[in-house]
Structures are given as structure tokens and as C-alpha cells.
Symmetry: C2
Subunit: 113 residues, 2 copies
DNA sequence: CCAATATACAACCGATTGGTTGTACGTTGT
DNA sequence: ACAACGTACAACCAATCGGTTGTATATTGG
């Protein structure tokens, strides 16, 4: 695994490790939302929400599109899938362990016969 | 989604948002490793690695088992799967958006006929 | 034209993070 | 018995995080 991939993984998991950001992500996956419309949903300053959006954007989990004075944020499902595939990879590592255990059991059965 | 679930999600994503911890998780998913054996693999102090293991343990991504003076850590694939299912849920949110777009297209086609 | 709106960004703050060293304590091998 | 080993945990530190307020800039509606 390359250094770039690890940086990307750091950014993705970090972005997801905050409930406000996960909630923003759910909203923008549902459809486009301007930053100020998003900000209105939370009991924190506009600037705070804007920072959360920026973290999600840097991780690639959402993209922004200008429309007049508004900035419309939209969730990127491909980035979500890339995280899912990292976890699938981890599960594969675990499957290898089970396969090795099964192999040992099989060898043991052979011996006993 | 309950507050407890959100706390758990915070802990899980935070635990995964560090490359050393992801690497430790890969190793312990492959099989049991003592904390000191894990510590030997990284260019940082034993205490630092021990803290990383503790973060993974608190998130439920690994469990420890005492064996004499050693503490054997083992990865928990169920916790990995629970993260994967959170992402699947996000992807479902996105699918709803697509479904609504398709619906609008269908309505538009009806009008034009 | 200009007041209101939407955004961006810097500076600041307390809490948390990821690392260190040092100390303490149970377990083990000789 | 005791030195070496494996672990736990506290105290500390610099850097980052999640939040704030304040300021600047571009766009819009009346």
C-alpha cells in the first residue's frame, strides 16, 4: 500500500470520525445543499459547519459547485465505496486466518486417520 | 440513530483514522500477536504502540487475552463488518437520491407524451 | 446603488491526540 | 532468589481538532 493511499485513508476515516460530518454527508448524499442551508441545521456557527464541509471536501467525500453566490455541496458515493472496499480488504485478511486454521484442522484429521 | 450508536461510530472511525492502528489491525486480524511483538514492528516506543492497541480495543476492533505475562491481541471481524454496514447505509441514502431523479425523469416523459 | 446574503478565511482558545520518558508490578527462566 | 521480560499507567509535550468571533469579498434583489 502506497504512502498516498495511506494519506487518503487517513483523510477519509478522519472525515467520517465526527457525527456532524457524517450527518452532513448523509444530507448531501440525498441531494445538493448549499453551505448556509446546511449550517442552519446545526446549533453551531456558520464557520464551524463550513470547516466541516471543507474537511469532507478535502477527503473527496463531497464536491462543491458554484451557483451564483451559493456553493452547492453534493455527496460523492464513489469515495464512500472506496472506504467500503478498504474494509472489505481487512475482512479478506481475516478470511486468510480462518483458511489457515481450517488447513491445520484438516492436517490434524489426516494424522489421526 | 441513537446517541450510543453515534459514540460507537465516532470510536470506530477514529480508531481507523491512523495508519499505525490500521496496520496493527491488519496484523491482529491475521492472527494473535502479543503487544510487545507488535511494538517491535514499529519505530516508536512500546508505550505508544500499547496506546494504539488500547484505542483499537476501546472501539471493539480487537480483544485481548492474557497468557502468562503476555497479552495476546486478536482482531474482531464483526466490528469491521459493523463499519462496513454503516457505509452501506450511506450508499443506500445515495440510492434514494437516484431513485427520486429517475422518478422526475419518468414524470417529465409522461408530460411530454 | 446599496443593503442583505453567501461564502471564505484568519486568529484565537480549550480539549484531545500521538508521541515521549519514567515508574511500578506481576510473571518467568535459570 | 532474582534478573529479565511484558505490561500498565501517569506525567508531560507539541501538534491538531472543533469550536468561536471578526473581517473581507462577491453576488443578488429591490
Amino acid at each position: 500500500m502506497s504512502e498516498r493511499d495511506e494519506d487518503q485513508a487517513d483523510a477519509l476515516f478522519h472525515a467520517l470520525a465526527d457525527r456532524t460530518r457524517r450527518d452532513i454527508l448523509r444530507r448531501v448524499l440525498r441531494g445538493e445543499h448549499s453551505v448556509s442551508v446546511l449550517a442552519a441545521k446545526y446549533e453551531m456557527s456558520f464557520a464551524a459547519v463550513q470547516k466541516h464541509v471543507a474537511v469532507l471536501e478535502r477527503a473527496g467525500l463531497l464536491t462543491k459547485r458554484r451557483s451564483g453566490r451559493e456553493q452547492l455541496a453534493s455527496g460523492d458515493v464513489e469515495a464512500v465505496r472506496s472506504v467500503a472496499s478498504m474494509l472489505a480488504e481487512l475482512e479478506q485478511v481475516w478470511r486468510g486466518r480462518i483458511a489457515r486454521i481450517d488447513e491445520l484442522i484438516a492436517l490434524d484429521n489426516d494424522k489421526q486417520q
